[in-house]
Symmetry: C2
Subunit: 159 residues, 2 copies
């Protein structure tokens, strides 16, 4: 089963993963959000092969998460900028980075996130948009739409 088949599932997680559920695509988005926007610069920081990087940039461009413009003509060289769709991946990168800080790397985090408005280290948390309280899986109820319930019932019966 290929990752692209996830696009056909009635599930937003699957839809997201079909487009950017690949470790290297997320490493590329991280570099772009850090302001590292040229091919050679991204290659140097990620250690990716040119082929692999070109393929990820093309896919991100095809999905509308990255836009490309030439910054030099002879030879032609491109700069890659995250679009609004790409910039909106920031919470995904933050949550993965924090999980990595806590469970994989340990020790002092190499990268932290300052909050410009208040000036402090933000240590971003997931919070309820209604009451503002920080949330974890334990405070959350998964609420499925009628369509999703129906779809899951069919799948569990093997249809």
């Amino acid at each position: 089963m290929k990752r692209s088949e996830l696009a056909d599932m009635p599930c937003s997680l699957a839809g997201a993963l079909a487009e950017i559920g690949d470790a290297w695509s997320l490493m590329v988005i991280k570099e772009l959000l850090l302001g590292n926007r040229r091919f050679e610069g991204i290659r140097a920081q990620t250690g990716m092969s040119s082929n692999s990087l070109a393929q990820r940039l093309k896919a991100l461009e095809d999905h509308g998460a990255v836009s490309r413009r030439a910054y030099q003509d002879h030879p032609v060289r491109y700069e890659y900028t995250p679009t609004e769709k790409g910039i909106s991946l920031w919470p995904v990168l933050v949550s993965l980075t924090q999980w990595g800080d806590r469970w994989v790397r340990k020790g002092a985090p190499p990268l932290s996130f300052g909050h410009r408005s208040c000036g402090h280290d933000a240590s971003p948390v997931v919070a309820c948009a209604r009451c503002g309280a920080p949330m974890t899986a334990r405070d959350a109820d998964a609420r499925m739409s009628a369509g999703m319930r129906r779809d899951r019932a069919l799948r569990s019966r093997g249809n």
Copy 2:
């Protein structure tokens, strides 16, 4: 370059992706957090092949994100439970799901998150742990440790 090589980079995002930066592993974690904890049930909902699912469950167990216990003896059948490490992936799943709702699937979200304490639809947001304000990439300053700066300078010089 293999995904496992990401584990050697001094980067928590890379470390996280080395362990769970695979679309199918995240689909499995989603099922476990929804309470779907048996092999056949997960297979039915994700559409994964038995091989592919067994391989992901084994990797998640090896990384300590999932624990396994037999719930039946003849034949032996296992139930898979997310550990604290697995449960802590909730913010990753939420942020990916919300990104998919907004940019990939569109229409009414199949799955939303209620907040048990306040009873409302949480529409979880990333917020500053210090001042509580919701944050986006535009309010955030990436703050690199001295070690990370040094490592990036070396990489950009090709060392």
